[in-house]
């Protein structure tokens, strides 16, 4: 069985982001970029599944301009077997990504498609669900535990939901999106970095895949959230009531 993992190159989680002065987006020049943390977790899970014998190959996929290849190299250094780079413009919305992934899945025919639950730059949380819909595959999102059963060809997924944990049993092939507590990603060791240099990265374009990328969304405006105002220490209950009534208008 093959496993396909989709990863995204985003601004590093630890960087303090700044909004561009023209309010069209976030400052990305000269800012450290790395693999989306949830995608790292997804790749780690795929590698663990391969190491326990349930899969033969892990393919890592990324979409974007040439720099996305760096993220793919990280993926290969972690242990993936090969990579596919879809050369596409930098801003790709979830539906376009889902359409491209569908075509890639039809070509590669993996038994499992694992993604991070969301990207930390847009926080969309849509790609996994959309691609499952397009493929008509079962989906286990926000996975905090994944157990595979080879004979029955099912995956038992514990999902983190608002009310607690939900356990689903999915028939393979399936789509899984990973949540934070699933695992702790491994470091890229030097021997693996060495091996990664010889692993293939195939480049394709959306045109070759017959996918039309049309942006159905437009970013109008990006602003920082309003700064938290300092608290005010009041001296009496009367003052509190007065403020609640006249300033906050809540009573």
């Amino acid at each position: 069985m093959k496993i396909m993992v989709a990863v995204k190159r985003v601004i590093d989680y630890a960087v303090k982001i700044r909004v561009k002065s023209d309010k069209t987006g976030v400052e990305t020049t000269n800012v450290k970029m790395s693999m989306n943390p949830f995608c790292e977790i997804a790749l780690e899970e795929a590698l663990r599944i391969k190491e326990s014998g349930f899969a033969s190959e892990v393919i890592v996929v990324s979409m974007g301009p040439a720099q996305s290849v760096d993220t793919l190299r990280t993926g290969l250094a972690m242990g993936a077997d090969r990579a596919i780079h879809v050369d596409a413009p930098a801003t790709l919305y979830p539906l376009s990504v889902a359409k491209i992934l569908k075509v890639l899945v039809d070509i590669e025919k993996p038994g499992l498609l694992i993604l991070g639950k969301q990207a930390i730059d847009d926080d969309c949380n849509q790609t996994g669900q959309m691609v499952a819909g397009l493929l008509k595959w079962p989906q286990g999102t926000f996975a905090s535990k994944v157990v595979l059963d080879k004979e029955k060809q099912v995956a038992t997924v514990d999902r983190e939901v608002d009310g607690g944990l939900e356990t689903l049993c999915l028939d393979l092939p399936a789509v899984i999106t990973t949540d934070l507590r699933l695992n702790q990603p491994r470091y890229a060791t030097l021997p693996n970095i060495m091996k990664a240099k010889s692993k293939p990265i195939k480049k394709v374009t959306p045109q070759e895949l017959n996918v039309e990328i049309n942006s159905d969304l437009e970013i109008v405006h990006v602003t920082e959230p309003p700064k938290r105002k300092a608290g005010v220490i009041l001296s009496s209950v009367d003052e509190l009531v007065d403020k609640l009534k006249n300033e906050a208008h809540v009573i």
Partner: protein, 565 residues
């Protein structure tokens, strides 16, 4: 009488090493705080002198028939002390020429600083009286927090006139007892003077007050695209005034160099209250003697630093970090040479730690993950590169690492893929000090030694101490600076006797420095002769006398208590 004369003659004919079989008094640390004049030696002392030293000095006067001989005897023992650099029999005694704090003094301080900035309550004083290592505790009764240079000047002028001893204090993170009072000195804490005065975005020159915390300055600068040229584990608490006063080194020393090079100007207040404004922001200024260098590294003994102007380097976007394992110390040295050659201008940090240090961190700190769990290696090396082009630097680093691995210099390693991974690697190296504090008592030594010989000291120390203590060696390999730490469950004088003065003598023999970056403080003031010649120290003493005639600034520290004439 005849008998006593002959016995004292016999005594004086003995070599000092047989009278004092252990060159350093193992009770030295405890004796510091005994203000009486009796010495307690215990078992190590030769039976000959025990009776003389176990009595109060005034009782010796009772032997008046022998006064001359006793006088001779005492004069001769003083000479014995000088010959061995005061490592024996020198208790620190409170200098009686300093005045005792009176209520008039407190009233005056309240008048000039306001009541809110004068502290006498127990809690505030107990934290200010004790150092970070919890090794030194003073008994000051007064803590002052001036808010501007003028107030510092008034405080010092008054203290100088009243002969009140003063301890300048910043973040109180020093490791040699230099930031806390020894007796009842007045603590002047600069922490409230924490304004950033100006920052030039083009040249990167930052002017700020001495009480600014290093990490806050770093965060401010990062927003502007710059960073502080020094980085230490204590950055969350240490203040720039203290960093400058101790000429702090840190993790990035190998790339950005010493504070002597980065500090462009200082404003300091001398002991008599005069404000010396050398707060220039010029890169080049060859007009007269460059006095700011006197204040950098003098640990508050020549003046209190109130403002600093510092040149900050640009924050380059591409930072890569590799955590590597080596089998032996020779590979670490070769790796350093190779890194200098192959990584050259992008190398920004080169640290090493041995397997004991790694074990200590993994045991005592939470949330630490071993990046190379497959086995415990003998040495770990952290190499950081900082450059302007991400992919170019990464390629350069990876090529260097792969070649070193093929050459057998590295057994295994990982490269951080994002900032979080990099922070977790740094946490391991920066957390060793914290882990040691949690493990119990620690004897800390910070030595500059030739790189080839550095680890030999650690191994010899291990042989000496055997199972009684854990010996850790780690440090800034790129600067030839070893942090030697001995960890025991409790402070134990017999273990101290095994360590000192062996470690100082070993360092001196290899022409190293007994304090690479921590400074002398109280801990090593008397050991200065291991690294500096008597003539040099004599000149230092005269400079101290010139700038601080009453000796009120940070007394008992930095310079030896009984300098060689």
């Amino acid at each position: 009488m005849e008998k006593l004369f002959r016995s004292s003659q016999r005594l004086l004919n003995q070599s000092s090493s047989s009278i004092f079989p252990h060159r350093s008094n193992p009770n030295f640390e405890h004796l510091k705080h005994i203000s009486g004049s009796s010495y307690v030696y215990g078992d190590i002392c030769n039976a000959y002198i025990k009776p003389y030293f176990e009595c109060e000095t005034r009782n010796l006067q009772a032997y008046h028939p022998l006064k001359d001989y006793v006088g001779m005897f005492r004069a001769k023992t003083c000479r014995i002390q000088y010959k061995h650099f005061g490592s024996t029999a020198t208790t620190v005694q409170r200098d009686p020429s300093f005045s005792i704090l009176s209520s008039d003094d407190i009233d005056y301080f309240v008048e000039i600083l306001g009541e809110k900035n004068v502290f006498q309550d127990e809690d505030k004083l107990s934290t200010a009286n004790m150092d970070w290592m919890r090794k030194y505790k003073g008994s000051s009764k007064l803590l002052l927090q001036p808010r501007c240079t003028e107030e510092v000047s008034q405080i010092l002028k008054y203290c100088n006139s009243r002969r009140l001893a003063v301890v300048p204090q910043g973040g109180n993170t020093g490791l040699v007892g230099g930031s806390v009072p020894v007796f009842d000195e007045v603590i002047v804490n600069i922490g409230c003077m924490n304004n950033i005065i100006s920052f030039d975005k083009v040249s990167g020159i930052l002017v700020c007050e001495a009480g600014c915390i290093l990490e806050n300055l770093d965060s401010f600068l990062i927003n502007q695209g710059f960073l502080m040229p020094l980085d230490l584990g204590a950055k969350g608490s240490c203040q720039i005034g203290g960093n400058v006063s101790t000429n702090a080194g840190g993790l990035r020393f190998v790339r950005y160099g010493s504070l002597h090079g980065n500090v462009l100007g200082i404003e300091a207040v001398l002991a008599d209250g005069s404000v010396i404004d050398m707060l220039g922001t010029l890169r080049k200024d060859n007009t007269g003697y460059d006095l700011k260098h006197l204040f950098i590294g003098s640990e508050g003994s020549l003046g209190i630093v109130t403002k600093v102007s510092i040149l900050t380097p640009l924050k380059l976007s591409s930072i890569n970090l590799a955590f590597l394992a080596c089998n032996d110390y020779l590979s670490c040295q070769k790796l350093l040479l190779e890194a200098r050659r192959k990584l050259g201008e992008i190398l920004s940090a080169f640290e090493f730690l041995d397997h004991e240090s790694m074990g200590m961190v993994l045991t005592h700190l939470e949330g630490i993950r071993n990046p190379l769990p497959s086995s415990m290696y003998n040495f770990y090396v952290l190499i950081e590169t900082t450059g302007s082009d991400e992919s170019y630097d990464k390629e350069k680093l990876e090529a260097f690492l792969l070649r070193s691995m093929e050459g057998g210099l590295i057994s295994d390693g990982v490269v951080a893929q994002d900032i979080n991974q990099a922070s977790s690697f740094w946490r391991i190296r920066e957390g060793i000090t914290e882990a040691l504090m949690k493990a119990g008592a620690v004897y800390k030594y910070d030595l500059s030694l030739p790189v080839e010989k550095m680890y030999n000291l650690v191994e010899e120390m291990r042989l000496r101490l055997g199972l009684s203590a854990k010996v850790l060696g780690y440090g800034h390999l790129g600067d030839a600076n070893l942090h030697l730490n001995v960890s025991t469950l409790q402070y134990d004088d017999s273990i101290l006797a095994q360590i000192e003065p062996f470690v100082y003598e070993w360092t001196s023999k290899h022409r190293g420095s007994i304090s690479a970056e921590h400074g002398l403080g109280l801990m090593k003031a008397n050991e200065i002769y291991y690294t500096k010649s008597p003539e040099t120290v004599r000149l230092m003493v005269s400079i101290k006398k010139l700038l601080d005639p009453n000796g009120i600034l940070n007394p008992y520290k930095v310079l030896p208590h009984s300098p060689l004439p």
